[in-house]
């Protein structure tokens, strides 16, 4: 946007960016019966390189087409989303009928040097009700490093198929020294019926 006065440009696009805070919205993807949602550096205005030292994905009301896990994978140079990962997984659950409150490690959602998808939930999202959804976030640290592993931490809350509130904490590292240049989200079964994923960069300077 530029601000013009009598055809004279007073302020150009970006002129105010210095004062706009350090969290910069890079891209919003909206699911509509989507098999995957992918953020690829250099495509569709996505930046996912050394421009920012930390990137944050924010999930808003992810609604699955089928009862399934929400998941992510990372691309480390080729076209495949198959970066090697070691991760931890735990969650808290409390059912709507006040039963089964728990806090536990969930081995089914961790990886030990796995290249497959990384679950971001310890349980399955419920698809049966129109108002069931997931919201939360994922941080990725220093994805463009060619020296270090790439750490990620995630926290989401969702209505599972009990029905219950389930709060999942998934974290780990991509055990690669190649840069991570793309991130892809999907469900373990069926499409992402609806929802938003926003990618932010946390400014370096």
């Amino acid at each position: 946007m530029a601000i013009l006065s009598n055809a004279v440009e007073i302020a150009d696009a970006g002129a105010f960016s210095v004062g706009l805070g350090s969290m910069v919205l890079i891209k919003t993807l909206t699911a509509s019966s989507s098999g995957t949602l992918s953020f690829v550096h250099g495509a569709s205005s996505v930046v996912f390189d050394s421009t920012y030292p930390i990137y944050k994905f924010v999930f808003s009301n992810i609604h699955p087409a089928s009862t399934s896990y929400f998941q992510v994978n990372f691309r480390d140079g080729s076209t495949a989303y198959d970066a090697t990962k070691t991760s931890t997984s735990f969650g808290a659950i409390h059912a709507e009928d006040n039963s089964t409150p728990s806090l536990a490690y969930v081995a089914g959602s961790d990886l030990a040097e796995g290249t497959g998808v990384q679950r971001l939930t310890t349980g399955e999202l419920n698809s049966g009700n129109a108002d069931d959804s997931l919201s939360g976030h994922l941080h990725v640290f220093n994805p463009s490093s060619t020296t270090f592993v790439k750490h990620f931490i995630s926290n989401v809350n969702y209505s599972n198929n009990s029905p219950a509130s389930e709060n999942s904490y998934i974290a780990g590292y991509c055990n690669v020294t190649a840069a991570i240049d793309a991130v892809q989200f999907s469900m373990s079964s069926g499409n992402i019926d609806s929802g938003l994923i926003k990618l932010y960069g946390i400014k370096d300077s």
């Binding site: 009598n6 805070g21 350090s22 030292p53 536990a104 941080h139 592993v149 780990g172």
Partner: protein, 203 residues
């Protein structure tokens, strides 16, 4: 600043701020075989006072010189340099090693403090192989309060020296009503070989 055309104010001061982010980068420190990294209010453009209600420290790819040493931090008041404010905190973590033989979620009593004044442990030992590091986010609330204790939380992920992933959670308070003015990060022993710590104010 206002943008004015022919005496008509088009955009008033502050008009742009309604769409602004709440994070302001205050200072970046980069380790290079550094014994410690510290942020001192009023020094080198560091603001660590009542300007912001909340401060965040982003510790990015912290790599130790010595294998298995944790990243730690402590704070101090005024112009004191002892970095030994009494703290009481909690600490729990999830672990999973690359060999898939260890997976756990547990409170770690040996990492917490009860009115202790030692540097606060942020993780288990960080590996020092070339690609190993930790990344953490520390938040300190209202450090300049002269009424209340000062709460903090941190979370992050660590590549442990035993080749595993460690997801860390801690929270506590500095049990003082004196304003905090400074914070120091260092490894349990040895230097911070490399890494960056960025300080943000949250408004």
């Amino acid at each position: 600043m206002a943008v004015i055309s022919n005496t008509t104010t088009i955009i008033d001061a502050g008009a742009i701020t309604s769409g602004s982010g709440a994070m302001t980068l205050i200072k970046t420190l980069t380790a290079s075989s550094s014994a410690n990294l510290q942020f001192l209010n009023g020094t080198s453009n560091v603001v660590f006072d009542g300007t912001y209600k909340e401060y965040q420290f982003h510790c990015i790819s912290i790599h130790p010189e010595s294998d298995g040493e944790p990243l730690t931090f402590q704070v101090d008041t005024g112009t004191n340099t002892n970095f030994n404010i009494a703290t009481t905190n909690t600490f729990f973590r999830a672990r999973h090693n690359e060999g898939d033989t260890i997976s756990s979620l547990a409170y770690v009593a040996s990492y917490d403090q009860a009115e202790g004044t030692a540097f606060i442990r942020m993780n288990g030992g960080v590996g020092n192989a070339a690609d190993e590091c930790c990344s953490m986010i520390l938040t300190i609330h209202e450090p300049a309060s002269s009424t209340f204790v000062k709460h903090y939380t941190f979370t992050g992920n660590n590549y442990q020296d035993n080749s595993g992933s460690e997801n860390l959670f801690s929270a506590g308070y500095f049990n003082t009503t004196t304003a905090l003015t400074r914070i120091q990060f260092k490894m349990g022993s040895g230097n911070i070989d490399s890494g960056t710590i960025k300080m943000y104010g949250i408004s």
